[in-house]
């Protein structure tokens, strides 16, 4: 972590004389709140509406595909929280996804546990524990850890888990663990199809709302500070590294939830679920849709998965190339993701204090009341 110490030492250094009045201000556009404010709820509502009617219009095999996408969107949400909001470059998010998947698969295989009431808490707990351990190690040093350290650390963790799973006979080696029985609730079995779809959609919506509450709270404001200038907010007295570790753990928990749903939906787990492939995929979902917006993560997942599904059907050989070019174009020309076509900067960042037009604060109202005769 030598880089971290240097990073601390660099604080406050800069050109001795700031040249030209207003030069720094000119680098960013003026920020007066624009009139068309509430794009986000409309987009969110539309996405939810489409998601709700999908099983009615899709053929059965496509509903199964849609279910997989919804679970992956949940996974993307976990990465977006960690990277898009807290600025922690987690290149190994699949570690938590896959570890939970393997964990619940083992519970089903060796202990015959398939009850949803045990499996989902177990999956989240595995995600939480793994992310607490890795996050504690990577983020809670004496000095803030550098981005490189964290991204390589998470990547290594994910890669190591992948290798471990491939080599370990108990975990099924290269083949993973096949034939996981369906999730159950009492005597009911969750088979693939509309019921499983609506269940995971419900879980996604609830998780989404919880995340939304979190990122729009004062805690979210602290995260914005963390993302933009970690050292600055440490000088305000924030325990910046603790904040990071907490968000990392929340992300790991959500990834664990997604991983356990995925394992039971697919009916098997395999080493890729832990490794670099899934870790990279989730980065792409979020970059493509728009990091730092929750809905961007969901949209990115849906579009990338949808497009690659369609492409692989129609352009059997060249589809990965087409997808790659598409991704590159978006990242080059829309670094804030597809969502930035409709969402302005002001709304993306959000306001945490009182907004204009929301009426005076309680205190101001009281004052006005006192002033009146």
């Amino acid at each position: 972590m030598g880089g971290a110490r240097e990073a601390v030492a660099r604080i406050g250094e800069g050109p001795d004389v700031v040249t030209g009045e207003g030069a720094p201000a000119a680098s960013a556009p003026a920020g007066r709140t624009s009139a068309g404010w509430k794009v986000l709820p409309i987009v969110e509502g539309l996405v939810l509406l489409i998601a709700l009617v999908l099983p009615w219009v899709l053929q059965d095999y496509l509903t199964v595909f849609a279910t997989r996408v919804v679970i992956l969107a949940l996974f993307a949400l976990s990465f977006d929280l960690v990277w898009g909001y807290a600025g922690i470059m987690s290149f190994g998010q699949a570690l938590f996804f896959g570890a939970a998947g393997y964990g619940v698969a083992l519970m089903a295989r060796d202990l015959n546990v398939t009850s949803i009431l045990l499996i989902l808490p177990a999956g989240t707990l595995i995600g939480l524990t793994a992310s607490l351990l890795l996050g504690g190690f990577l983020l809670l040093g004496r000095y803030p850890s550098s981005v490189i350290f964290v991204s390589l650390g998470t990547l290594t963790g994910s890669y190591a888990a992948d290798r471990l799973a491939r080599g370990w006979y108990y975990l099924g080696g290269q083949n993973g663990i096949p034939s996981i029985p369906p999730l159950t609730l009492g005597s009911y079995e969750f088979e693939e199809g509309p019921v499983y779809y609506y269940m995971v959609l419900g879980i996604l919506v609830v998780t989404y709302l919880l995340c939304r509450f979190l990122v729009r709270s004062q805690f979210g404001l602290a995260l914005a500070g963390l993302r933009e200038n970690e050292q600055r907010i440490a000088f305000f007295g924030y325990k910046a590294q603790h904040l990071k570790a907490i968000v990392f753990a929340i992300g790991g928990t959500i990834a664990g939830l997604a991983g356990s749903l995925y394992a039971f939906h697919e009916g098997f787990v395999w080493p890729n679920m832990l490794g670099v492939v899934f870790s990279t995929q989730v980065v792409l979902y979020v970059l493509f849709g728009g990091s730092g917006t929750l809905i961007g993560a969901v949209i990115g997942t849906v579009i990338i998965e949808g497009v690659s599904f369609w492409l692989s059907d129609n352009y059997r050989d060249v589809w990965p190339i087409i997808l790659g070019v598409l991704l590159l174009l978006v990242i080059m020309f829309r670094p804030l993701g597809l969502i930035s076509f409709v969402l302005g900067e002001r709304e993306r960042v959000g306001s945490f204090g009182k907004e204009p037009g929301k009426g005076p604060s309680k205190a101001a109202k009281k004052e006005a009341g006192n002033a009146a005769p």
Partner: protein, 244 residues
Amino acid sequence: MPLLEASGISKVFGKLTALDGAALTVGENEFHGLIGPNGSGKSTLMKCVAGAEVPTTGKVSFVNTDITAFSPTERARAGMSLKFQITSVLPTLTLYDNILLALQAQSSLFDLVLSRTRNRLHDQVMTMLTQFRLADRAYDAAAALSHGQQQWLEIAMALAGKPRLLLLDEPTGGMSLEERRVTGELLQPIKQHCSLVIVEHDLDFIRDICDRLTVLDQGKVLASGTVAEIQANKSVQEIYLRRA
């Protein structure tokens, strides 16, 4: 007992000795200027006090506590605050949110998640913005401010946590004459509850607002005393004449 006492501070970067046994003593409610030619170690001394650098040798005491090994977070919680030389307001956030971010720094995690201090802090946010003549732009993004206004916003943020000591690294860098004058006015009232250490090139500005000065030259303290004493000091006059 002084509020801040740094003594025997040395800082070596490889072969370069930036500080060589420097010292700085600041009393309660005192405005203290730290001056010296370029490369004399002013900024490094400031960073050692603020916790951005760890001194090679020496001791920093603050409110009778040895804080030499404290992290920036711990120093902030002990009542020390820093305004960076380069402005580091958060450009995409509104002015309001910038101040709120600084004010809520010591709220508990629980309060932050449930946004429980937002209403309570509202009046403080507006007071700070009004004090620094920024209230009418409360809901603009900080990036839209002029350079001078960004500096004021940053001073306001540094003061938000009600520190007992504020460290200002070149507060008037890049400001117009008028902006400098206003900065001096804005700083005066804080003397009632806060001490100040200022690193600054503008000697007129320093003379107008400071009570005491410490002059550094080549990493050592050349002189320390009241403004009048320093102005009368022969060796100080010499280094400034030599380089003028």
